[in-house]
């Protein structure tokens, strides 16, 4: 079961990882490629709903695309910080609602990180609280 959870921030055309983590570390590279490619779809979805009013916008982007073994979900905050989650497609326990709540948890935790006055927006996230939250989420899913 692999859940790489990168938070991706967009500044104009830049999509660099703020945080990326995956459980089976041996196939980390594959997930990096997968998440990176999925940003195309995220960008597409964001630009498609760009005209919608900000407060009415749905942050959860839903399933970005499926592959044979994994499902890739996306989420974008109001400040265009992107969250991408890759889950094993055999895991049927993860329905849309669970994914949604996981994203919400991630978002809350990310907001906490941003509230840290010593955190420089745009830096890689090195918060221990964020780490432990992601770990607990991964453990719960597995």
């Amino acid at each position: 079961m692999a859940v790489p959870l990168p938070g991706d921030k967009t500044v104009v055309a830049q999509n660099y990882p703020l945080y990326i983590r995956s459980v089976p570390t041996e196939s980390e590279l594959k997930f990096h490629y997968m998440v990176h490619t999925s940003l195309d779809v995220v960008d597409e979805k964001i630009s498609a709903m760009g005209k919608a009013l900000v407060d009415q916008r749905e942050l959860y982007l839903g399933l970005l695309y499926p592959t044979e073994d994994y499902k890739v979900y996306g989420y974008v905050t109001n400040s265009k910080v992107k969250f991408v989650m890759v889950v094993d497609s055999s895991n049927t326990a993860l329905r849309d609602n669970e994914i949604r709540s996981m994203f919400r948890k991630l978002h809350n935790s990310y907001t906490d990180v941003m509230c840290n006055p010593f955190y420089n927006p745009g830096d890689r996230i090195q918060s221990r609280a964020f780490d432990s939250m992601v770990t607990s989420m991964m453990v719960q899913v597995c």
Partner: protein, 930 residues
Amino acid sequence: MSWTPCFLSMLSTLVLGVSVPPGALDCWVFLSCLEVLQRIEGCCDRVQIDSNIAHTVGLWSYATEKLKSLGYLCGLVSEKGPNSEDLNRTVDLLAGLGAERPETANTAQSPYKKLKEALSSVEAFEKHYLDLSHATIEMYTSIGRIRSAKFVGKDLAEFYMRKKSPQKAEVYLQGALKNYLAEGWALPVTHTRKQLAECQKRLGQIENYLQTSSLLASDCHLTEEERESFCREILSFAGRQTDSPGHKIVLPLHSFAHLRDLRFTPPNAVVHVGGVLSVEITVCSQMPVPVQVEQIAIHVHFSIEKNNYRKTAEWLTKHRAAGGLVSFPTEAAPCPAPQSSLPALELCEMFERSPSDNSLNTTGIICKNVHMLLRRQESGAALEASTGVALEDGAHVLKCTSVTLEPGANTITFRTQAREPGTYTLRQLCASLGPVCFVLPHIHPPVQYDVYSQEPQLRVEPLADSLLAGIPQKVKFTVTTGHYTVKNGDSLQLSNIEAMLILCHAENRAVIYSNTREKASDAALRVQSSDKVTSISLPAAPAYHMIEFELEVLSLPSAPAAGGESAVLGTTEPHWKHRDTQKASHSMATTDHRVSIDCPWSIYSTVIALTFSMPFRTTHSLLSAGTRKYVQVCVQNLSELDFHLSDSNLVAAGDSSDLRLVPLHTDSQQHVRSEQAAFFVWELKWTREPPPPLHGQFSVGFSPASEQRLSVSLKPYTYEFQVDNFFTLYSVTAEISPPPGAELCKTGALCSLEVTITRLADLLEVDKDEALTESAEYFSTKLMYEVVDNSSNWAVCGKSSGVVSMPVCARATHRVHMEVMPLFAGYLPLPDVRLFKYLPHHSAHSSQLDADSWIENDGLSVDKHVDEQLDSSSIRSRGSGHSAASSEHKGLPMPRLQALPPGQVFNCSAGTQVLVVPSKDDHVLEVSVT
């Protein structure tokens, strides 16, 4: 049209439960994808398909992926072609496909035929795979999914690598790498670089390969073994003997090592010609193993900036910050974070108010540097730019040979001897390993050091803030040797001037300092004085050192200027007077002494001006008590030192036989502290009346209170002054008496003021002026009296001044009565009575003589004019009359008043007070608060 993902997910879930031979599933998926795509193409027109690429491209990519995996499975991608096992598997798969369904059997292009064809031969597979891949990449690119396109491109590159055509693979790898670098994805970057390194190695692009290798060797995402192997690649290349020895491979330094800081010794990075400068750099090697570097060099740019004050020795040695350490910012780490190049947002608030009632219309935040933030990011090219690293060739290079760079921080020290004066800017850092050079093209922030050459210099400055005249003062001599080496026997020749002595002591010592103000040695100083010249022999000192020593000087002002017959030497006040007037009265009078010094290094003499200040200011005043006279001399100490004053003496020069001065002060010694004054009083007595004018010569010995024993005897301080006409001629008495019937004066009630002016002497020489008139039996002079009350205690009723004719003979008295009214109650001082000599007007100005007659003539002419033109316009006559009147007024001569010298009038009632009681019917009480 979002059924594509649904379809795909359905496919994937359906397939999972069934167990099939390897590849069968791939075949099925491939076929299904192509079937679906064909069906879509069949029912939609071209425009619709184009607009739905976003939905169909997933299937294309899926099909490509499956074909690829089938190809790998069946050995169609390998270099040698499929082996027997691969062939068996292919046959199995083809058999598993079964027969083509009848509805498509007749079409030329069907997914079934495609798959069958692709699996049947290596060439056909290549053709189909390339077709599919290119189509997918094209589609992705057209809808803007660049990342996905790059990912498919990477797969394609892998395929090309297997097919032994690295030149085709390189384009895709470079493209993907550029994308990953721009977005800062470290792991994909490392992986792609690894592939690229392999590709470049096969292509024989040595420079690019070595550069990629150096990047990989410093990549922390790789394992230690991998890094070492890449590092060894570089080292082995560097160790190889090249055919063309002149050829160098120039690589950027940042992947190999990183310059962390740089330190100069001396810390201000300023050295004199011939001095030694050392530059210590800290380089962090990013290689996993120690690297033996043949040479590390810093290329230096040399520039001469002449006629620039900032490059002179004085400025450089004083003003350059002694930091010494220059830190360089860490360059982009293995995973570059592109956001670091973005400037911070500069926001400011904005309020827009309506112009009519100033109410707030809009508020907002304005970003001031939008143009910086929204600039198009020209990423990629700059991030891995390897081109343009040019090796600068300059004559000035700091070198360090055979250095071993351990992983991590290394300290390398360069030493250089400064030769030519000028500014040296460090430009490039270059580490060479055989033919490989790692170059840091620009050292930023700019670092430079300066080399200066200095002329020898002599500076003479007082130790204290100002030098005081009359007492020994220390003066510091500083010889900055510059490029001159002071030899034994070199001496400074000071031309003596009379008014300034150089006091020689036996134990004068000179201290020699090095350029960095460290004490090098000290030596005895020999000072020899002759009539004209004082010679100071300097101790031997090397170039760029400083010799410092102190000498005592004593300023002796020249002999008294006001030629007195007495041979009193010493400071004279009149000598300073003319300077004194120019300066503020409270500052000290100064005198300049110019000393010319001959230095051994120059044929010209140095002229040094020393300014001495007089520590004292002296004033005198004449005091009267009736006819008795006193002279007071006030000596004010302006300096910061305390002084002892002794042997004060006042001598009347000239006709001294008629005047006698009796000192009224008793102490022979007086102590005068800083900023305080001492007073001396003499009573003036005379034997002959009237007494002659007094030419006073005051002298007082002084010595600083802090120094008890002085090696030299000090000259006394003198002051000359003159007092004329001090003999009392008139005595003035004023008396206020209450109104008749009352006991005391009351506010608001008129009192009588009686002023009595009494002549005390007979006709004297001083009375002989224009005011003196001679009548039959006596002389008389005209005096004007004036009653003035400056403190507004009294209101003078009626005339407050008048002219009296005073007979010039002893005991002649004139009384004046006046009415004054006290305005306040209490003890009030009497109003002042002033006495002036009244000089008649006709003798006032010789140039304006006959002013009266001129007025008369003018008046006559006016009259005549009016008479003549009686019936003419009145305006004109009035105008002329007016002009006459105004000129008359202007030309009116006023009688002159001459104040009597203070000694000639004695005011008997000065200081007396009168008691004034408040009147009972005072209803209004005036309170003034000041």
